[in-house]
Each structure stands twice: as C-alpha cells, then as structure tokens.
Symmetry: C2
Subunit: 592 residues, 2 copies
C-alpha cells in the first residue's frame, strides 16, 4: 500500500517565490495569487490522494479486459472519472468558447503533477483527450470544432492519437493506412494502428480518434500524410450519437506497466473520417498534439519519481535495520531506522534533488508556454521548443532512474508487487518510450532544435544564464554554492554546442553520436539553473524572516547537494561528446 | 520470442588469449586446454539455447502456483531439470569425494553465464543448491556431509538459504527464529522466513534448507546465530526419505520478475534441524555461502545484460526505420535498419563494451578464486574478497542499466511483454537487491574490505595495475588508447581511497557517503584493466596473424569505446566522493 502526500508547499514555493507568477505580464496570470492557486491545488491534491491513489494498485492488478469488442477498465475507474468530470478538472486550460475554464497552461501543469503522481494509467485517459483537443482546436474547421470540442472538454467523449502501425513507429513516412475520399466530403479510413492508448474503453460515451492516414495519389513519405477525426460513433448534426463507425479494438497489449490503461490494436475498416486541416499536412497538425504531449510525458516521468520518493523516504524513516555507525539514534529500539545510513540518504537526496529541481523546471516551462501562447512572446516560444526534447527525454530518463532508486530503498520488499514500488518503476518505464523514444528526442534536439532559427534560442538560453549569474553574483553565498557551479556547467554545454557546430557540418554523426549526452548535459544545466533560482528565493525568504525558514534552509541544503554531487555530470557528458563519431560508428553492423 | 547465441568465441578468447588459463599454475588448470573448454562450453551452450531459452518466457508467464502446500513449477521446468541432472551439469565444481566432477570454479562460472543468460529463474534452483553445498561442505560434520552432499550434487535434492524474516533483512542480529535443543542431538527449529527462493517446488525429491536461528541462552545479536540443516523430508540412516519435517511453504510472493522461481514464505514449526559447524557461529558459515552467492549474482546481472544485448543488436539490424543521415544504407528498401542511427549504436556500444568487459572481469575473478582455494594463494584470496562487493554491486547495477538500454532499442515493442525484453529488465532487477542489496555491498566495500588486512589487498590491486602499465608501456598503441586512460582512472581511485583514509577515521560518514560512488569507480577501473588486457591480447593475435583478425580488430574498437566513453565516469565518481559527508547528511530525517 503506497502513500501520496501532495507536495503543495513545494508547488506554491516554485509558483510564487521563484517564478513570481502573480507579477508576470501574461494574460490570466494576474488572477493567479496564492489564495487562488492554493485553493485549486488543495482540492486537486485531495482528489489525487483520496480518489486516485487507492485506484493505482487496482488498475495495475486488474488491468483492462477485452470481451466481444468491449474493453472494461479496472474497478472504480469509471466512478473516479465521473468525479473528475463533475469537478470540472477535465477542461482546466481549454477555451471557454467551447466550455473550457480558460486557465493558463501553468495551472493545468501543476494540477497534473498531482493527478499523475497518484495514478498515471488513469490520468492518461484524460491526458490523451487534452492532446486531441489541442490538435483539433489548432487545425480543424469551425464546424468540426463545434461538433467535437465541447464534449471532449468535459471528457464525455475521450480522445486518442493513432500514429503507430506494426511496421512503423518513429518513421511515419512508412505508414500504410489509407483515406479514400467519400461522396459526402468525408473519407473512408482503413488500416491497422497499434499501441493506441485508451483506444477503446467503457468510461466515455464516445471516443474521438485522431488518425494519420494517406490519401491515395498524394506525395510519398511524410509529405503525404493527412490527419483525420474518426469517431467511434458517428455524431449526428444535432449532436446525438448515431451509428457505430467502422473502427474496433482488435486486441489489448500485455505490457510491462500502465496496466490500468487500455493499449489497443485498432482496426479501421472504411471508417468515416473527417480531414483536420489541409490534406497532406497532417504531420504539422500532429506535431501540435505531440509537443503538448511531450511536455505531458515529462510531467509523467517526474511525477512517478515524486511519489516513489515519498514512499521511499517514509519507508526509510520507519524500517528499523542496523545501527548508525556514529552511534545509535534509536537506542531503546532493536535497531535504528534505515535513514541513518549514509548510502540510504545518498539515494534519497538524489531523488529529492531531482524531484524538486524537476518540478521547478516543469513549471517554468509551462510558464514559457503561456508566455508564448497567451502573451505572444516569440522568444519564450523558441526557448520552449528548444527545451521540449530535454523536458521529455531528460526528465523521463532521470524519472525512471529515480523510481528505481526509490524501489531499491525497500530492499527485497521493493521487488514484491504488494508493496507498490515495482509498479512505479514499471509505469515510469513507458515514459522513456512513448511520444518519441528518448533517443528520438535527443536526435530532435541536436539534429534540429539546436540549429533552428539560426541557433537563436540556444544563444538566448546561454545569455539568460549569463545574465542571471551577473545579476546575482554580488550575493556571496549564492555565488560560491550555486552560481559558480552553474557557470561551469553552462560552459560545458557551450563547449559541447561548439563541438557540434565545428564538426557536425562535415560529419553529422559527430554530433549525433553525442546527442543523448547533450540532452542530459542540457537537462542538468536547466536543473542547475532552477536550483540557483530556488536558492536565491530561499535566501530572500530567510532574510525576510518568513514563518517557515526551515523549509527554506532545507531548500538550500538540497540545492547544494544538486550542485555538488549531480551537476558535475556535465563534465562526463562533455568528455563523451568530445570523443566524437569514431568510437560510436566504427563497428560494422554485423559485428555487433 | 527472444534469441540466444552462446558467446562461445568470446568466452574462449578471454579464457585462452587473455587469462591464458592453460598455462596457469593452478591445480586442475593444466586440463583446461582449448579443446576441453570448447567441448564443455559448446555442449552447455546447446542446452542453454535449445532447452533453457524456450522455457524462459514460459516461466515468466505461468509462474509458480501454490495449492494445498504444493508448489508447481512452470511447464517444462521439471524435464529441463532432468536434462541438467542427466548431463552432469549440477556438480561441475563439486568435490569428487561426494560425486562431483571436481572442475575448477572457473569452468562452472563460464558455464553458468550460458545457463543464466538463457533462464535466470530456472538456474536459481541449481544455483542455490550449489550455495548450500558450499556451506555444508565447508562447515558441517563428516556425517552430515555424507548424508546430504551426494544427493545435492546431483540436484536430486535441492538447497535453500533461509536468512530473512519479515522484520529483518540485512540486520540479522534481529532475527527471532528459535532452535531448541532436542534429545537426540538435533534441534527443533521454529519461526518464519520470507523471500526464500526455491523454498518449495516439485522438481526434487527433497529440499535441504539451511536456516539461521538462535539457540536460547546464546549471545545477543549476530553473535548468537547458528546455522542448521532442515530437510523437507527427514533422511533415514539408510539414505531413504522418512517423515515430512515441520516446515512448509505458507505463501508465494508476487514479484516484479523471476516468476519461474518460487519465492516462498517458509514456516518452521518445531522442524528437526542439525547444527552446521559450531553453535553461535552460524554467521561465519553463512558467509561462505554468501560470498559464493555474491559472485553468482554478479554473473546473473551480467548474463541478463548479455542476452538482452544480443536481442537488441538483432532487432536493430532487422527493424527498418528512418534513414542514415549520411546517405541511405538500404536504398532499395523502404527505410534503413535502426542500426544506422548513431544513438542506437551508442546504446549498443555501451551494452557491448559492458558485456565483454564484465565477462572478462567475472572469469578473472573466478580464476582468482581457484588460485586462492586450489593453489592456496592468499593474495588472490584477499584480492577477490576485496572485489566481491564490486562484482556483485557494480555488475548488477550496470547489468540492469544495460538491460534497460536493450529494451529501449525496441521502442514501444520493448514495453510489450510478448517481445521478451521486459522480462530481462524485470528479472535483472532482482540482482541489485538479493544477496545483500547493492548499498550493503558498497558499505561492505568501504566500511570493511578496503581497510581489511591493513589495506594490503587494495594496495596490491593498485600495484598490479601499475605493474601492468609499466610492463606494457613500450607498446605505443596500447599506451595511448588503453594504458593512459587506465592510469588516469586508477589515479582517481587512489585519490578516493586516500580521501577515505584521511577523513573516514574522524567521520565514518565522510567515507560511507561516497560508498556507492567508490564501488562504481572501482568497478570501472576493473573493467578498464580488463579492456587493457584484452586489447593487449587482441594486438598480439593480430600481430601473430591469427585466422580471425576481424574479431581482434573489433575487440580493439570496443575497448577504445570503453576507455573513451565509459571509463571517464571515474572522474565524476571522485568528485562526488570528495564532496564528503555534509551534502548527504545535512537534512534531518523528518525533512525528507
């Protein structure tokens, strides 16, 4: 039985003391004072803790079942989904024109950390619906929007993304699903899609599939892909549900984790579909969905680490085993708690420093997204686009690693399913894979984003760090413990970027061989920056004699841990990058 | 469906070209020429590939079931166990006096890599029996040895280790199981043990439990622990099986992996037991078993990485996805194979460099064990004792990480149970935990082994590296690519050891906070040494114009990868160690 304590205090600290959102010049942010965010997060936290957490293990154990084409979700999922709908949690950031609450993306991100920590599988049903909403909202005709969005915002109808086919995952140019034009302006979609999360289930009246397919006669490869809406039930003009469409779940995959979510093989047999956006321009529309989804997956990797860490810390305080080598801490008991042992603490500090740093990184990213979308700030948009693969790839790689560390604290008990730690590891594992495997994220980062817009976003990133350091180096304590290590890490990143520029033109492999290393290097610099900003805020609060200075002191302790023990990884990553293409590319394929 | 190709060529290379075992002055080694080891490994490889590999997935899917006290193993396990028995594979290294084949431990290690790669769960039944054999052989009376060992060597009777209780894992001083002296010189054992691998099953006539318990009136804590043999069926004086003893399986644990092995809750209710060795000295006897078991677990972590790597390489060559950025490699096909992509290669090279380096490390360690036990070489014994926690902790940490990388190559297909990659990850995960969680290995290394015998073994280790470098630095190619990086890594390790010596006396936590980092640093230096030795052998073979120079060239390529991209981790580990106790210990327990 796992626990979950919503980290409200820490969320509030990042939102108000670090990001100072209330003062930000972004439409809608002026409403976001501490009372407002406090009320929302408190309520979301209660649902996460009391409704979703107890269902997490149920979902893992029961899984989903397919019988006669009907997919049954685990016991209690339906009722919990009703709770989400009734509380208005499904359309937080959606457009009020279609019934959404119109809140900044930042609020949705903070709330989703709580929900996803509590129950990743469950939250995917809603998360995918949000993603589908985004794509339709950005690219579909007004008619389609009016028809589908309102019910998707309330999650009366849920959404899916149908990209992958058996022979094609990342390489969408290979896809074979066909869309034949029909008489009424719609299309007949045929083909097979696999790994479709929430492809079929019993929690909503209708399921709105977004499907990539090729219109015959269009261009070859990715330039001939179009995006379609394919509803499970045809929607009549009056909004009522009509005939069952030609789409069905052919099988459920047995997976390592996220058992509570139905991962479906979907068969489309001349299903009626409606073109979203322009013909052959489906990939662009899909990317709208994917970019939002990638941020969402970053949240997932981080959120699993967060809840796993809480359970590990709890266990380490409770479980009595061995004695503190420097003298018993629980002399009247049979042994001391695990947490007295330095290596257990090392593990917990690794987790804590990642979880708190990652949280700040995600909320800052969400703020950049709002700044781009709501305030029209192109620089913020560019920076976020650059960092999106880092958010997805780095936070899920480290998030998974962190859940493994949490599981390890439990020793043998961590390996037993009953304890719940295995599930966090198994569930977190998918986040490194879906929405573009992390190697693809690294490729996107180094092969595309780094040089995009003439390298402007990455230069702006370096400039931002430089300015931050310059502005604050008068603060002696901040300088030695935070700014100096940040400066060193940032320099490693600049050297790496320089290496890519100097070598990548004549040999792309010289850059791509170091792509995963660069993604991690970049991630560490981002978390280093976050820790420096958090340290600054904590120091200011201590100086201002806020009531809870202990919280701030602990922030500084954890931040110093990050800077001293985790941030130096940038040096190792740089050394690998500097080794170039040869070590990686030298073997012939058959010699592996 | 997974594949397994026994890496016979690589095993032979390490045994004969690198370790030159045939020339070693160790009793029994003069028999170990290439024909002999080739015949054995070839035969073992066939069993691994043809008999054990197909059962691996069966074991994972079916698991073990408990009904009316009877544990049923997965379909086919029994028959495969008969194959192992009939082939004489169960007593390779056991004493001929009791029916064993008396081969060096080295041979058993090479063979066990093959069996464990093919099927970890299955091999545990035999592995635990070997461990129990070791403890009885080293510590029990002649009468007990004669009674139990012959049937354990043939695995007609299997063995177990019963240490853990619900409230006590590592901290055995807390254990509560009792052993009351009985009239006939035996003891009545009562108590509950958990996590007992192979505790009950249907593959052998009898199960010989080795049980730690306390004789009332003995010293408190670990000094009052005794070791007992508790057979499932009482063995009559004529060797026939008598009454069922008071020991039964109360439950099977549901675990993340190794489903094919029965992990039992064992209840002892006045079961008849026989003291092994002296009263209250059980821990010493148990450590005989544990040390062998720890080497065996190192093999397991490595072996899972080995088979997972093979599958990943195979998939990367087959799966068509995307194009080589430097120009299509499969222009007539719809896409190029995954293996053209630098980040896929980076992952495969990480795995390959670890797997081959780890293999050499394990075989070298097995040779040290033989040198200690068979040739009475105390230095070898001391060195192996020092490295035992590294073999267990480093190879299983990295082994798990390597299986995760292999799984990642498959993208979404790696997450689906059908593909088999998830099982490698889930199975490998246990190796970081059992036989002393890896944090406990790190504690053993830094808290005990490093300073043991006045630090003689670690000084000898440094000296050995220094001599190797000195002897070979005339070889220019070896020097720049292998010896120089090895020297740098070894220097990092010496600096770390020095830090511990200077700071650990006045504050043990200053050393223990860096214990896991030191274990990894040490592990990298060992693999660095192995790669340098392999490179030397490969260069010599190339110079001698052996038939397969391509194998040797590939060895050099892989070795350079290790030296350039993986070995530099020692610098990061050292930086962490040098940060000392404060970052790790500064928070109060309640502030996590």
């Amino acid at each position: 039985m796992t626990i979950y304590n919503p980290p409200l205090k820490d969320l509030e600290f990042v939102l108000h003391d670090v990001l100072k959102i209330h003062e930000a010049d972004i439409p809608g942010y002026s409403d976001l004072d501490a009372d407002f965010t406090g009320a929302i997060l408190d309520e979301a936290g209660k649902i996460a803790r009391d409704v979703l957490t107890p269902l997490n293990e149920v979902g893992d154990k029961e899984g989903c079942t397919l019988e006669n084409g009907v997919v049954r979700t685990p016991t209690g999922f339906k009722e919990a989904f009703d709770t989400m709908r009734e509380g208005g949690w499904t359309g937080l950031s959606a457009d009020p024109e279609f019934g959404g609450q119109g809140m900044p993306y930042l609020v949705g991100t903070a709330v989703s950390e709580l929900f996803v920590s509590a129950n990743l599988s469950f939250n995917m049903y809603q998360g995918l619906t949000n993603g589908a909403y985004e794509a339709i909202y950005a690219h579909a005709s007004d008619e389609l929007k009016a028809k589908f969005l309102p019910k998707m915002i309330t999650c009366e109808w849920t959404g899916t993304m149908n990209l992958t086919e058996p022979h094609c995952g990342t390489d969408l140019g290979l896809l074979r699903s066909k869309a034949e034009p029909a008489d009424n302006g719609s299309y007949k979609i045929s083909g097979q899609k696999i790994f479709i999360s929430a492809g079929e289930h019993d929690m909503s009246e209708n399921i709105i599939h977004l499907v990539l397919a090729k219109i015959p006669g269009g261009p070859e490869g990715v330039k001939g892909i179009s995006l379609f809406i394919v509803p499970k039930f045809i929607v009549n003009d009056d909004g009522s549900l009509g005939a069952r469409n030609g789409v069905a779940c052919g099988n459920l995959e047995e997976k390592m984790g996220i058992h509570g979510n139905a991962t479906c093989v979907m068969n489309f047999d001349e299903a009626e579909g409606y073109l979203v956006g322009d013909a052959h321009k489906g990939l662009r529309a899909m990317f709208t969905m994917m970019n939002a989804a990638r941020l969402g997956v970053g949240v997932q990797g981080h959120a699993q680490a967060s809840v796993a860490y809480q359970n590990a810390a709890d266990y380490a305080r409770d479980r009595l085993q061995g004695r503190d080598v420097t003298g018993a801490k629980n002399p009247d008991g049979p042994a001391d708690p695990l947490i007295v042992h330095p290596d257990i603490r090392r593990s917990l500090m690794d987790q804590k420093a990642f979880v708190e740093g990652g949280r700040a990184f995600l909320l800052w990213s969400a703020m950049l997204l709002d700044e781009g979308e709501l305030a029209g700030n192109k620089d913020s948009e560019g920076l976020l686009s650059l960092m999106t693969p880092v958010i997805k790839g780095f936070l899920t790689d480290k998030g998974f690693e962190s859940t493994v560390q949490a599981q390890q604290v439990f020793g043998g008990h961590g390996y037993i399913e009953e304890q719940g730690m295995s599930q966090f590891v198994r569930d977190a594992r998918i986040t490194m894979i879906y929405e573009g495997a992390n190697g693809v994220q690294a490729l996107d980062l180094v092969g595309r984003k780094l040089a995009s817009d003439g390298g402007k976003p990455v230069m702006a990133f370096f400039e931002m760090i430089k300015s931050f350091i310059k502005e604050n180096e008068g603060n002696e304590a901040l300088k030695s413990d935070f700014l100096d290590p940040l400066k060193a890490a940032s320099k490693d990143m600049q050297t790496a970027a320089m290496y890519f520029m100097q070598n990548g033109m004549k040999n792309p492999n010289a850059a791509l061989a170091g792509s995963t290393d660069f993604m991690h290097l970049f991630g560490h610099v981002c978390l280093g920056l976050m820790w420096a900003r958090m340290a600054k805020a904590a120091m200011a609060s201590i100086e201002a004699e806020v009531p809870d200075t202990r919280f701030c002191e602990n922030k500084l302790v954890t931040g110093r841990y990050y800077m001293q023990r985790l941030l130096p990884e940038t040096g190792l990553r740089l050394a690998r990058i500097n080794s170039g293409a040869t070590p990686v590319m030298a073997l012939a394929a058959e010699d592996f």
